[in-house]
């Protein structure tokens, strides 16, 4: 299959199947980009930061980015159009019969399932990303005390805890979170606390 058609189809599937927007799409994106070898988990995490610091919806941004990485300008067009097409068509259809749609028991039932599963799916992604970030070399009990508990590990733990606190209790803006954790990384890098 041509790479352009593949990009279009993969992002079309995402556009058609991910409810809730934003990060709800991450589990799906992760599975897709990893299985095709388009991005690594590390690159995906970096891109989440880029997307938070630039305008627009995460789903649109990631489709444009992956498309461009894999197939240049035309690739990014195929991926983005693929992503946008399903919601565009579905909304056009529903706009005509919105009242009926809202009352429908079938829609309510399907939504009950989809809204709940998205929570579990993002939870799974957090576990996977968390594992990658904390143990980039993998985890095993033999090397637990020595190789795992390095400066890198403690740095991540501390910065993560501080950022989570600032997000949940100080309601800090995501862009500020990214800026602060980048600053922490630069500081730790140049003082030799971490080795990257």
């Amino acid at each position: 299959m041509s790479i352009y058609l593949l990009l279009f189809l993969e992002f079309f599937k995402m556009g058609a199947l991910t409810f809730g927007g934003g990060y709800a799409m991450i589990p799906f994106i992760e599975e897709t980009v990893l299985s095709h070898g388009w991005l690594t988990t590390g690159e995906l995490v970096n891109f989440i930061a880029v997307s938070e610091s630039t305008p627009g919806a995460f789903a649109v941004n990631i489709s444009t980015y992956v498309g461009s990485e894999v197939g240049g300008l035309f690739g990014s067009l195929c991926a983005t159009v693929g992503l946008v097409l399903p919601p565009f068509v579905i909304i056009l259809i529903i706009a005509k019969c919105y009242e009926k749609f809202k009352e429908s028991l079938i829609v309510r039932g399907v939504m009950l399932g989809l809204k709940s599963t998205v929570v579990g799916l993002i939870g799974a992604t957090v576990l996977k990303v968390g594992y990658e970030v904390l143990f980039p070399l993998g985890f095993s009990f033999e090397n637990f005390g020595t190789e795992l508990l390095t400066g890198n590990f403690w740095f991540i733990i501390v910065v993560f805890a501080v950022m989570l606190f600032l997000l949940l209790y100080k309601k800090l803006n995501p862009i500020l979170i990214i800026v602060l954790s980048a600053a922490a990384g630069i500081l730790a890098g140049y003082t030799g606390l971490i080795s990257v």
Binding site: A49, F58, A59, V60, V110, S116, V126, L164, S181
Partner: protein, 187 residues
């Protein structure tokens, strides 16, 4: 005809503006969409806007795309929907395309590597916050909790296929809702 063309152009430009100023996307966009399309342009009633949000929650795709398509369609039909959706996507498409041209090389610079290492910890915190707020917005009943737990375990520990998990969840949710209805109560 001239008036129609003017309206299409207005839709395109207004949604481009919305696309440019909303960082992070998602619900951050709602107040801006309201300000631009309801308060300034009178294209849509505030009540209808609430419907748009509910609608985009129960249809796939990003909220900004759904809102642009819906409002564009209400204001100027199919071409209106097209102009508004194009407008909201265009700014981030251009920006991200330009970034993609140099991001890989940029990531190799030493100071950037350090910065991205720190950012990993920050992104992990952002993801946890996303889980918490998604949980708060989702249905709160036993069926919902079981689906959440089952999909988490299936994907995290058994590498289940995400599409299959989504489809099974939809079927289970539908079945549970219909059964509950038959027995005379609501989920």
């Amino acid at each position: 005809m001239k008036q129609k063309l003017k309206l299409y152009l207005q839709l395109l430009l207004t949604f481009m503006k919305i696309g440019v100023v909303t960082f992070g996307g998602g619900y951050a966009m709602i107040p801006i969409i309201e300000n631009e399309t309801s308060k300034k342009k009178k294209w849509i009633e505030p009540d209808d806007l609430i419907d748009v949000i509910a609608l985009s929650e129960s249809t796939p795709g990003p909220i900004s795309i759904c809102a642009a398509t819906f409002i564009g369609y209400k204001v100027a039909g199919l071409i209106g929907a097209f102009c508004a959706t194009l407008g909201v996507v265009l700014p981030s498409f251009v920006i991200i395309y330009l970034i993609s041209l140099f991001l890989r090389r940029f990531e190799e610079i030493r100071i950037v590597r350090y910065a991205f290492f720190g950012i990993r910890a920050g992104v992990l915190a952002l993801l946890i916050k996303a889980v918490i707020s998604m949980f708060k917005k989702s249905p709160q009943n036993i069926v919902a909790y079981v689906i959440m737990a089952a999909s988490l375990i299936a994907v995290a520990f058994f590498s289940a296929n995400v599409i299959i998990v989504l489809l099974s969840a939809a079927v289970i949710g539908l079945a549970a809702t219909l059964i509950a209805k038959k027995r005379g109560h609501e989920l």
